[in-house]
Point group: C2
Chain length 211, copies 2
């Protein structure tokens, strides 16, 4: 308990009362916003930027969807030469998750553009299967933005396929450098920005954190 | 195939060759960076900002860790009045994941500061158990930043407990408004920034996407 010199009482009770009033006001605002947002439809979510959390957020959405009994389709572009924790884990649930990894590592590993294009097109063909299957509630296109940035896939073709998907199907697309045309047709877009990164302090990419 | 007027050939072969040279250079840079970052240690990761993906990235890291055979401890602050997809899913694995939800909804729902403090302290006590258990490879403190922002927990006490944890244990902390003192002691900090959000277009928060 503190009393200040002007005689007003800055007691715990006062703090608690002010908190109650402030939170009641906040609840009104939040409730009103929720009341205004009632449309239910499949959404396209993009996670881009140079920061951490783009792919891991996509996989977090996958388990959210699975927790609600939804089936999930996952296509990993670019990544896939190494066995990741998410792949090892999600392959435990073949009835709930269809997992397709492009399987050729990052493009600077292969240095072979023609092979990269071939692999990206094969991965997108798999993705189109998911996009035409209304029993799949969420499709994760991990690192698709990289394949689009390097023009391994035609963005207009990708957009057309996305827009032709079942009405209630959700999609999450990850990778730095999301193209403006893709951002345009997305519902929710987040830019993951680096504030600091352990890598710069000489700490290695580690299992359970980066892969 | 295009020939420009100066007679240089801008063929697919040229594009592919330039790609190979550019990617070889990129590989050198990336390989050198990886060579410099070799320290292996438990890291503290913070996901903050107003954008989407903070919590879902934390849960994505949880399944990455599980894929590598690590045990995971999760404490959900603030959230928990409703049953989320992530909770439903992760409770399937009681031998791999210890899940503790504070269970009182957002603070503007309760409007009761004393009860919120009590619940936050009880949740942190559970978190401290995880932080003193070297068999747990990753601890997720979901929405801890909110509890700190409202001063339901003392940030210096939280930092001391985090720094006393087992050397190889990773921690991820989520929630908007991460406090500067916490950012200071973290290894990797990402700010999720809103580029656009479906909610503003009148689309509801939906199962498998937001919860």
């Amino acid at each position: 308990m503190n009393d200040d010199i002007k005689g007003t009482t800055n007691s715990d009770q006062d703090i608690n009362d002010r908190h109650r009033v402030r939170m009641a006001r906040k609840k009104e605002v939040v409730d009103a916003k929720i009341k205004d947002a009632q449309r239910v439809t499949g959404v396209i979510v993009i996670n881009t930027g140079n920061g951490k959390g783009k792919s891991s957020s996509g996989f977090g959405m996958a388990i959210r969807a699975m927790g609600h009994g939804m089936k999930v389709g996952i296509v990993q572009f670019i990544k896939g030469a190494m066995s990741t924790g998410e792949e090892q884990f999600l392959r435990r649930f073949p009835d709930e998750v269809s997992f397709h990894a492009m399987g050729e590592g990052y493009t600077w590993e292969t240095q072979n553009r023609e092979r990269d294009i071939e692999k990206a097109e094969a991965a997108w063909a798999k993705g189109r299967q998911f996009l035409s299957d209304p029993t799949i509630g969420l499709v994760v296109f991990d690192e698709l933005n990289i394949a689009l940035k390097y023009h391994y896939l035609d963005v207009q073709k990708v957009i057309a396929d996305l827009q032709a998907r079942p009405e209630m199907q959700h999609v999450v697309i990850t990778g730095r450098g999301a193209l403006p045309d893709l951002i345009e047709i997305a519902d929710t877009v987040t830019e993951m920005q680096v504030i600091k990164h352990a890598f710069k302090d000489g700490i290695a990419a580690q299992a359970g954190v980066e892969w």
